[in-house]
Amino acid sequence: MHLSDPGSFRDPASHIVLDGERIIRLLDERGLRAWEALSQTSFFKTATNDGRLIDADPLDSAPAGASGALEHPRVPFISYPYEWTFSMLKDAALLQLDLLMEALAEGLTIKDATPYNIQFVSGRPVFIDIGSFESYSPGEPWIGYRQFTRQFLFPLLLRARLGIPFQPWLRGDPEGPTAADMRRLLGFWEHLKPSILLHVALQARMEQRMSGTAVRDELKTAGFSAELILSNARKLRRLVEGLQWSGSGDGWIEYESCRHVGRDREAKSEFLRRAISAHSPHRVMDLGANDGHFSTLAAESGAVAIAVDGDEPVLDALYRNGTPVSIVVSDLTNPSPSQGWAELERPGLTERAQPDLVIAYGLIHHLIYTASIPPPVVLDWLAGFRCPAVVEFVAPGDEMVAKLTANKTEAELHPGRSQGEFESELARRFETLDTRTLGDGTRVLYRVQPLTG
């Protein structure tokens, strides 16, 4: 029984269906021809061997209605560009361009250029849409150029040149900023740079002037060739490679220097190890992961570890260090929702994560004191994951709580913040399996399991 993947339907030549745990790609006649051409290239073998391109095994028989079928390995965790850090999107852009150039060298092209075709597996970008490759027809331009600029180049420029995070834009509009948007955003001096002048200003102007006119035949007759695409891709690669964002001055990059972090880290690690040993989780979701220390511990146990945090600079540093952890930039008070076509195309964060252990270290006091979420509502949310959790409680007397409440009066805070009240609310939703008091007694760890029934 095949179930269509609700995120794979745009390409008529090739789409994904789910057969239980198996990931099957169904091909029509055109898709099958494209696959046959791809599978004979040397770059396909190289790129699948070095992990840049997902493996694809042809099935002996295709289901009714399909001309061919391939099986792919399952990607452990799907993330979207609006959940990536700057360096992740940049590496994905470089992979897209590298594969395009390698494909063109062997008579193929990539018919689109979207980061949704790339996923991160063990901390490295992998191109997953085998169906995007097809034979290059001489004289044809690169169809994905505009899409590349809108979904890769312009978001990177937003961050590198303007310091604006691209995630909210891509979450609001997955097609990305247009050239006209970028022209309005980038200042006069930026427009003096040749790359901005061409990819932004000139593209915006030409798009406006030529909207809806057919130009493919004219380009072919005028002598357009793969060499021109290669030349453009090489220059784009240099441009993308040169884009830098240090992330300094933003977020909580000096997290490790906080006094309680160093003091409690080993005790919290030991508590987590005990939880991992007790529950043997396959998927661990680290809520408020910060520098990813605890997610990394979970990954080292063999679990798929998903580190969620709203702090892009620390997650970007984690990514650049070559972590095997799956990274998600997301504000936990407003996590990625289900969206796209019929609100099914891109499922929300929790639906994708499906954890069997949750880490909530150093988190809930930020939800209670900064985001003003009542303690029982925070616990309802944790119980909603329907799996064991390790939770850190921070009492009102803690120095961090004092910082968070420095400008708040008692009347502005929700009741029920004491340890006794917290434990009482905890007992209504969870069974406590393990507990440990840290440092000076203002922080307490709990390992809990939701009550059944």
Partner: protein, 58 residues
């Protein structure tokens, strides 16, 4: 090649030739000229149709 499900954008397609370097600029210029010529031919044809012909009964 069949064009996919993607709207490539006419202006962006022509721009690609320019981005390809010196040889591409010539290609873009030729394509631009061909497009203008095509547009002119279309306009001429349309004005032939639209021009009120000399009434047959005059």
């Amino acid at each position: 090649m069949l064009f996919g499900y993607l709207d490539a954008g006419s202006g962006s397609l022509i721009l690609q030739a320019i981005l390809g370097g010196a040889a591409g600029i010539l290609v873009a210029f030729k394509a631009w000229k061909a497009r203008l010529a095509g547009k002119k031919a279309l306009t001429d044809a349309e004005s032939d149709v639209d021009d009120p012909a000399v009434p047959a009964d005059s």
